[in-house]
């Protein structure tokens, strides 16, 4: 929009992989994935659609590039100062929070972040290292470190998705669910009905920290530590 371009001035490129991906991320963050088309992207950059193909081989490459770009933002607090000595549950928590924050920063893109993460593998390595290191400190053997790391990552992925999409229809508009429940035959889901009836608005909010605590408590039963925190 607006930006006019002349012909390429000598020596200065007016289109780069970076500038394209930057525009793409802006487009996605502001208008959602549906708005990301090669043609709209080109229009945004004031350029012919085909010009993009000189810098990125196709739309798939644009999306892969975005995964990279976003993962590069992931910064697990490096345990600054005495951080290396923090108890392992705190370090796992730091990883989980950082990853979740990343997802929340780009709600329209979470889905791709979560399902095409291989593209961001290189960028995700440092982050994974933080998680693996924390679990190693916990005293788990390699085999269990891998399993525990998967558990944490799977949970955080699930939460990230839930926050943009409320899976299994169980949260967010739980009030709607209750309404739907009442239209149902008679006492079709008694526990569900009873449980949801009793709760305040606040009780129905997502509670990432509860899940994290519980998960860490579970891991603690394996490492032999007492309940963390």
């Amino acid at each position: 929009m607006g930006r006019r371009l002349g012909r390429p001035k000598a020596g200065q490129e007016l289109l780069t992989r970076e500038s394209i991906l930057g525009a793409a991320l802006r487009l996605v963050d502001e208008q959602g994935m549906a708005a990301l088309s090669m043609r709209r992207l080109a229009a945004e950059l004031g350029v012919d659609p085909m010009a993009l193909y000189h810098h990125l081989p196709g739309k798939a490459a644009v999306i892969a590039g975005l995964v990279e770009l976003v993962f590069a933002e992931l910064r697990v607090p490096p345990a600054g100062g005495a951080g290396e000595d923090r108890p392992w549950p705190e370090r796992v928590r730091a990883f989980a929070r950082a990853y979740r924050d990343l997802a929340r920063a780009h709600p329209h893109f979470v889905l791709h972040l979560v399902t095409h993460a291989e593209a961001g593998a290189a960028a995700a390595l440092e982050a994974s290292e933080a998680l693996y290191a924390a679990l190693a400190v916990a005293g788990l053997p390699p085999r269990l470190i891998v399993r525990a790391a998967d558990l944490v990552v799977d949970y955080v992925n699930g939460v990230a998705l839930a926050e943009v999409a409320r899976p299994l229809g169980e949260r967010g508009d739980r009030r709607e669910l209750l309404a739907l429940l009442r239209e149902q035959p008679d006492a079709h889901a008694p526990t569900l009905r009873r449980v949801l009836d009793d709760l305040t608005e606040d009780d129905l909010r997502l509670d990432f920290e509860f899940g994290l605590d519980t998960l860490l408590a579970g891991l603690a039963t394996i490492t032999g530590d007492g309940a963390p925190a």
Copy 2:
């Protein structure tokens, strides 16, 4: 393909919501979401693309219908026989396994199942009831039942996704990850390197049950039960 149609024989409809959704699910299961277009779907049914719009208002409705259809397949083993008296962790496990199996039955569709679950809300109710009932039996107060249920669902969603997409680049082709790791500067991710180096192919496999066990152990620290089975 192949199927020829005459003009609508008197009284018998040659297209119904059900037949359309059935064909759509077949298409998705066999060829993936990319193959699901209104035009291909119509071709599959031997019909003009526009004919579909008389039974479903658009593509979004087709996908919502598929979510419903798939969720309707979800059957948590109804704790047959003495089942109602099974210990709560086993009942939670039964729910988790049923939901995960459902996801595995339609790998190309997991993503939509997980992110557009509201559409299947009605169908998912019965399943949720099983989970909520199990957690109520565990003696949790309503507030915590909701949180525990979210934890289980989020984890299973994360796993389901992982199985089709290996998020955070941490599994599946962990061998590739190791290779990528070695191209990295020097000792850039020491723990990751050490941990992955030691493991057998089998150690690297996904382990849904480990996650489930750990999660249940975590919940048990809240209910005051000993470690479950």
